[in-house]
């Protein structure tokens, strides 16, 4: 059992457990699952700068920041204490595509070092992948009013058609980046 827990978890174990987080949060505190809101609360707590959208009682949302702190703690436990393979077991086709299209050679770790190494901040790649990418995530999620957790999981679970529009938007952006912009950049 312990050995099984230390292997990567299949989708049919992880997905239902993620789904159960939605009722768990509702039952323990009447809270809706949503992670990107934490970014707004941090901005409101640290740099409100008189901006109306950042001027609200963020202290009422501390639970969300604590939840996110837990996610980071879970990242530590899940990665360092519960084992991880050196190479994420993605499909051979993806490896081949990434080799030929993005010229990647190192497939170890969670992220390709060739793109996400901090040393890359000395060239365009680091700024594009780390800074520009992160900026779009923070800007886009708030503009859309949610991310994968708030719209895709929480929203679609509650049959919100607006969340379906958001998820179609997520995929349109992701597909454009993967299939059109990456080939132009590399």
């Amino acid at each position: 059992m312990l050995e099984l827990l230390k292997q990567p978890w299949p989708w049919y174990v992880a997905g239902p457990l993620i789904g159960l987080t939605v009722p768990a949060l509702l039952l323990i505190g009447n809270k809706a699952l949503g992670i990107s809101s934490s970014l707004r609360h941090v901005c409101a707590a640290c740099v409100p700068a008189g901006i109306p959208f950042l001027t609200y009682n963020w202290r009422a949302e501390i639970w969300n920041l604590v939840f996110v702190l837990g996610v980071a703690l879970g990242g530590f436990i899940g990665y360092h204490l519960m084992g991880h393979p050196d190479v994420v077991g993605i499909s051979p086709e993806t490896i081949q595509d990434l080799k030929t299209e993005l010229h990647l050679t190192d497939f170890s770790g969670l992220l390709p070092r060739e793109l996400f190494s901090l040393d890359n901040l000395a060239n365009w790649k680091g700024w594009f992948f780390l800074v520009f990418g992160g900026f779009l995530v923070g800007f886009g999620t708030r503009y859309a009013g949610g991310c994968t957790s708030g719209h895709a999981i929480s929203g679609l679970s509650n049959l919100q058609w607006v969340s379906l529009v958001a998820v179609i938007g997520f995929f349109a952006g992701g597909l454009l980046m993967t299939w059109v912009i990456y080939p132009v950049l590399f």
């Binding site: 768990a24 837990g70 899940g78 086709e93 923070g138 993967t178």
Partner: protein, 136 residues
């Protein structure tokens, strides 16, 4: 103490994200290239289980442990939903991470995640500052 339950649940959530490898950039690329079922299975089964759970909560009028009536607000449509969603999607394919995974990556010790989170905070702040000038 009243926040401990959120810390515990968040930790479990982080472990699930990490152990299922959805915090990996490689997995997100595999998803956007339609080369494995893994991510679709994770997100799809999460939605199905969430949907059944919410239906059960609604039909049985379950209350939270504080005795509050459980209410889920309806999300309202505006053009930010798809424009913002599209912008996030571009970022998702670049960073290979949505906000939850970014925090889990940070916990796993990736310095890159710290930079991406700071950049995401800058993005959220910029959105907040420009909010009134953006199309809705």
């Amino acid at each position: 103490m009243k926040y401990l339950k959120y810390l515990v649940l968040g930790t479990l959530f982080g472990i699930i994200l990490t152990k299922s490898e959805v915090i990996s950039w490689f997995r997100i690329q595999e998803m956007f290239r339609f080369q494995a079922f893994h991510m679709y299975g994770v997100i799809g089964s999460a939605i199905v289980v969430g949907m059944i759970s919410i239906q059960l909560i609604k039909r049985n009028r379950l209350k939270s442990i504080n005795g509050e009536e459980i209410k889920l607000a309806d999300k309202k449509f505006n053009h930010g939903i798809w424009i913002g969603g599209f912008i996030f999607g571009l970022g998702w394919a670049i960073t290979g991470a949505c906000p939850g995974p970014l925090f889990a990556q940070l916990g796993s010790g990736l310095g890159a995640a710290a930079v991406m989170i700071l950049a995401a905070l800058a993005g959220t702040w910029t959105y907040s500052a420009l909010r009134e000038k953006l199309p809705y």
